[in-house]
């Protein structure tokens, strides 16, 4: 059962990921990306990381993708049609993407060293453990990510603001 779900989610994820790359309109890309993201969320659930799945959906689908859509709408990019790169480059892009895939897959051996932990103690995805870890072991990164956001916020405001209206 779950295996089938896995396959289904994977197929959809890959297909819609491809559509992200290949659709002409940016809006469609965004929508396909959202589909992919949902599929990934599904995988998280399969992996017993429900909290992660929830956060994932909220952050990505709820925030990031909305941001994308917002920008597209704001700049009125819906009508912008795809301008293709030169054919040679496009072929090169696809080929190198493919080769990268092959190379990575081919070289990703040695998974046997990954210990398959006890099947019973599947507690890793629980909120309790997550929270405990995040606020104790990962306190510093956690705080630092606030700096990160502060940076992004200050920066985004500074850059995206239109200067014309501001006269000191």
């Amino acid at each position: 059962m779950t295996v089938n779900i896995f396959y289904a989610l994977s197929v959809v994820a890959v297909l819609s990921a491809l559509m992200v790359v290949f659709t002409k309109k940016p809006v469609n890309s965004v929508l396909f990306l959202i589909v992919t993201l949902f599929c990934i969320a599904g995988h998280y659930i399969l992996l017993n990381a429900q909290f992660l799945a929830a956060v994932h959906v909220i952050v990505y689908a709820g925030a990031i993708m909305v941001l994308f859509l917002y920008v597209i709408m704001m700049l009125n990019l819906t009508e912008v049609l795809q301008v293709n790169k030169p054919d040679l480059l496009r072929i090169a892009a696809v080929v190198s993407g493919g080769i990268l895939l092959i190379v990575l897959v081919g070289s990703l051996k040695g998974l046997d060293t990954v210990a398959s932990g006890g099947v019973d103690s599947t507690q890793s995805g629980l909120i309790e453990r997550l929270g405990y870890m995040l606020y104790r072991d990962y306190l510093l990164p956690f705080e630092l990510s606030s700096i990160l956001f502060l940076t992004a916020m200050v920066g985004a405001v500074m850059i995206a603001k239109s200067d014309e209206k501001i006269i000191n």
Binding site: K109, R136, V154, G155, I159
Partner: protein, 459 residues
């Protein structure tokens, strides 16, 4: 570790100063704060401690590097005071630089990939923004965009590498990883090797190592001169140190995997950087290629990885940064124009402003590695580190590259002293800047008199 707090607080203070209206005193506060941060970081000397749940490892090397970047930032701020206070967003720029420094401080003392990742991102985000901080400039826009796209692309690879390594070792801590490597020295899984290489790639990107350097010339050229200066000095230093740290306290024993690629990258970087620079007529772009080349030299220290290496990296980054800062500073003083500063701007500088001319000469000589300027000692330490480990081919390539390097550094010197200037106007320099340039010159010459002090720092 207290340094981090100080830096963050300074950033926040900078943001608050806009609201609370003490923008005027922000500059002294920042400088003072940075000095305090330097002092605080020195306070932990010889502690060699893991802090914050082994997120950071404060060894002496981390401490001196933290102090170095704080010190460099003070110099940078002094050079940039006018630039920062010139138009709007003064406080934002202060804050961004200070946050970037926070990221930098993390990157030089991380013990956990999480910290590396966050540090890189904080630093990079600030830089993306600062690169485009001159919003009207198309070059600036392009620089910001290129930097951003290529940077986040590299981040993807960094993450993939981290993930793969995590998959094999089950940890993000470097020290644990080291134990893992020691235990599996002979049979490292391929997954792990690929992970190391991908992280190497991502860090090489940050340090603008060939063949992942493409962004650097364009971004350096497009960004405002002083932002470029910051990138070429603090950011470059931090990237190299982060890479160095990765191999010193993390993957050192897995040298089978990374040694050959790093050697080849080092050679390529030195050669390509210097070669392309010979043909540049824009000073900023030339310095960009020069900074690429210097990354190549620094990789030699990683390759050699012996008792000389840490000292060599520290001394090299210090002298390189001071010289670069001086060069960029003079370029800025001469012509505050981000689009292009041709070498011909320096024509006849020796007559227009002997002081600037002398400063630029010292900077160029230092970058070219000509005694008795400190840059030479830096190169010397690197070469001796590599020769100690018998990397003769590497040293020969480095020598050839240095010779090529002399070619373009001297192009500037020749312009300064030999070419006639079209405009006869005297280049005015105010006292503060004079003092600053003087300080840099003294540092560059002084450091060569007392390299002992720095070698004594046992890391």
């Amino acid at each position: 570790m207290n340094t981090l707090i100080v830096l963050v607080s300074l950033g926040v203070i900078a943001l608050l100063s806009e609201l609370l209206n003490f923008k005027k005193v922000l500059f002294p506060i920042t400088c003072a704060g940075l000095v305090v941060a330097t002092g605080l970081s020195m306070y932990d000397w010889n502690s060699n401690a893991y802090v914050y749940n082994r997120m950071l490892y404060i060894d002496n090397f981390a401490i001196v590097m933290t102090s170095l970047i704080c010190g460099l930032s003070v110099l940078w701020f002094c050079f940039s005071k006018k630039y920062l206070e010139r138009d709007t967003y003064t406080t934002d720029k202060f804050a961004l630089i200070l946050f970037a420094l926070t990221g930098a401080a993390v990157m030089v003392s991380y013990n956990n990939f999480c910290m590396l990742f966050l540090g890189v991102e904080i630093l990079s985000l600030s830089m993306y923004i600062l690169a485009g901080s001159d919003k009207k400039s198309l070059a600036g826009n392009e620089a910001a965009l290129k930097y951003f796209i290529i940077g986040s692309f590299a981040t993807g690879f960094l993450l993939l590498g981290i993930a793969l390594i995590y998959g094999v070792t089950g940890t993000f801590h470097l020290d644990t990883m080291m134990m893992y490597i020691q235990a599996h020295q002979t049979d490292l899984p391929q997954l792990f090797k690929v992970g190391i290489l991908l992280i190497l790639v991502a860090m090489a990107f940050k340090a603008s190592v060939v063949p992942f350097h493409y962004w650097a010339p364009d971004v350096y050229t497009g960004s405002p001169t002083l932002v470029t200066a910051f990138m070429a000095t603090v950011v470059k230093t931090v990237a190299i140190v982060a890479l160095f740290r990765l191999f010193v306290i993390g993957f050192g024993d897995a040298y089978d995997v990374w040694l050959t690629p790093v050697i080849i990258m080092s050679m390529l970087t030195m050669l390509v950087g210097n070669l392309i620079a010979t043909y540049q007529n824009q000073v900023k772009r030339m310095l960009a290629y020069s900074s690429i080349a210097h990354a190549g030299y620094l990789l030699i220290a990683i390759v050699a990885m012996n008792q000389y290496s840490t000292g060599a990296v520290f001394y090299y980054t210090m002298t390189y940064s001071i010289a670069s800062l001086l060069a960029f500073g003079i370029v800025y003083l001469l012509k505050d124009n981000i689009e292009s500063v041709g070498v011909e701007e320096f024509n006849g500088l020796s007559k227009r402003s002997p002081f600037l001319a002398f400063g630029m000469t010292v900077a160029m000589l230092s970058l070219a590695g000509i005694p008795p300027i400190a840059g030479f000692f830096a190169k010397y330490f690197l070469f001796s580190a590599a020769l100690k480990e018998e990397y003769y081919a590497l040293v020969i390539v480095a020598i050839i590259a240095s010779l090529i390097g002399i070619y373009y550094y001297f192009k500037v010197i020749i312009a300064i002293y030999f070419k006639e200037s079209k405009e006869a106007q005297v280049a005015e320099v105010n006292t503060t800047n004079k003092a600053l340039i003087g300080l840099c010159i003294i540092l560059l010459i002084g450091l060569s008199v007392i390299p002992e002090v720095f070698l004594r720092l046992r890391f």
